[in-house]
């Protein structure tokens, strides 16, 4: 019985460790998804052919979750709302925050991408999106480094702490 309990504690700590390290991985994935989505938006704006709503819908259909969920929500709200795209972007971001494994600073950066979205010239839109994409690139590099540094460590520490707890309880 003691052994079964010990195994359970170790397994539970392993799962907790995995979950924690997954947050690091998810953050990298989310940043990458938004980077690619913003690149798509930038090229749509550059060619001036599609509206933001059409582009957001395209991203939602071709992209991966959870960014695709955010863009679908954003496109739906654009279609039905009379407020500015800037406002809709921020409120959609805040509402979908829980789906994303992003830090508050990342969210603030993404909010910048929506600032004045759809209400300024092609040149200004492009410049702003380029700036945010560059910042996201830096964030992604940081997130990858963090994942490499802490991801494995969190997993190992979790398993070891589970082992220690089991030994102490035995």
């Amino acid at each position: 019985m003691k052994w079964i309990g010990a195994c359970f504690i170790i397994f539970a700590s392993f799962l907790i460790g995995m979950q924690k390290s997954k947050t690091y991985m998810d953050r990298v994935r989310n940043i990458r998804q938004f980077e690619s989505a913003l690149l798509t938006m930038e090229s749509a704006i550059l060619f001036g052919a599609d509206s933001i709503e059409t582009t957001a819908r395209f991203i939602s259909e071709t992209g991966e979750k959870p960014a695709s969920v955010f863009f679908r929500d954003f496109a739906d709200r654009l279609a039905s709302s009379e407020t500015s795209a800037d406002h809709i972007w921020t409120s959609t971001l805040q509402q979908n925050q829980d789906l994303l494994a992003l830090k508050p600073t990342d969210i603030r950066l993404l909010e910048q991408a929506g600032h004045m979205l759809g209400s300024c010239t092609q040149e200004a839109e492009e410049r702003r999106l380029k700036h945010v994409i560059k910042q996201l690139e830096k964030r992604r590099e940081e997130a990858v480094a963090e994942e490499q540094r802490f991801g494995g460590m969190v997993r190992a520490v979790s398993v070891l702490s589970g082992l220690l707890t089991a030994i102490l309880l035995m």
Binding site: I45, G48, I52, E53, T83, S84, G118
Partner: protein, 303 residues
């Protein structure tokens, strides 16, 4: 109803007030929205509505108009108007943004003039005996603003491109150079107004370049252009006419005499490029002139 495409763009209160008037009065030509001011409808008379176009409504109207994507309409905005479904044109005024002395963009759009596009099919029928004699006669339509030049030109284009059996006119390959999207009212390249089955439309392109492009690429039998007046236009038209292509164009003037006082038009007249000149007088009265500017006869009035 031609105005139906406009209503979804209008704020609800304004749409509700405007719709019954537009339905009742077919002569309404413009809906004018000015921020903080009552909505105005103009046509034969003037209707000042009790509804105010508010700042909140202005923002919502701009978002609807641009589909939250200002950048898409930047080029159109530089020209001062945008075209919506149905070929209706929305004239814009606000704050111009200049770059090196040229209009770069427009911001704080606060004044809107919605021009309702109405087709008047058959308006050109009475003129057909003067416009077509074993082929299309190169013709210059002369008239002041709002005299119906473009409406007449559109109907000529429609007849030319679809043919008119009772007058023995076959359908011809008709190329329309629609610099200001007024003739065909194109939206995303698709004509919103009826310009006939064999019409090819080059939308939003400067006339002179557009005419040359159409001559090279579309082998037209008839070339249609609106509001000519620059030296380059005259050159492009002479290229077309010397290539055996008939040209029907409009020019902005109150009369034939006033038109030929303009150097470009005088030059065109002297070179004998056009075989017909049509003076458009108020109430759809026309004076048809020959190559030398002599009145052939006054064509019957269209009503």
């Amino acid at each position: 109803m031609p105005y139906e495409a406009i209503l979804p763009y209008l704020p609800e209160t304004i749409s509700r007030a405007v719709a019954p008037i537009l339905k009742k009065d077919a002569n309404i030509e413009e809906i004018r929205l000015r921020t903080g001011q009552p909505v105005e409808l103009t046509g034969t008379g003037q209707h000042l509505l009790q509804v105010i176009f508010t700042e909140k409504e202005r923002l919502a109207f701009v978002h609807k108009l641009t589909k939250h994507s200002f950048y898409r309409l930047e080029e159109q905005m530089k020209k001062g108007y945008i075209t919506i479904e149905g070929g209706h044109r929305i004239g814009l005024a606000g704050q111009a943004v200049l770059k090196k002395g040229l209009i770069h963009s427009m911001t704080n759009l606060s004044f809107f003039n919605i021009r309702i596009a109405r087709e008047k099919k058959g308006i050109a029928r009475h003129l057909l005996p003067f416009l077509y004699e074993n082929g299309w006669e190169s013709t210059l339509l002369i008239g002041p603003p709002r005299s119906g030049k473009t409406t007449l030109l559109r109907d000529i284009a429609r007849i030319a491109a679809s043919g008119q059996g009772d007058y023995g006119i076959p359908a011809s390959k008709t190329s329309i150079v629609d610099e200001r999207s007024e003739i065909a009212g194109c939206l995303n390249g698709v004509p919103q107004l009826d310009v006939g089955q064999r019409a090819d439309v080059l939308d939003g392109c400067p006339k002179s370049e557009g005419m040359m492009m159409m001559i090279r690429s579309m082998s037209p039998e008839l070339l249609i252009a609106d509001e000519i007046g620059r030296t380059e236009d005259a050159y492009a038209m002479s290229e077309a006419l010397n290539a055996g292509i008939a040209v029907i164009a409009t020019v902005h003037a109150h009369s034939y005499e006033e038109a030929i006082r303009r150097p470009v038009i005088r030059e065109i007249k002297e070179s004998g490029l056009f075989s017909r000149y049509i003076d458009i007088k108020p109430k759809h009265e026309y004076v048809v002139r020959d190559l030398h500017g002599r009145a052939i006869k006054s064509a019957p009035t269209f009503s």
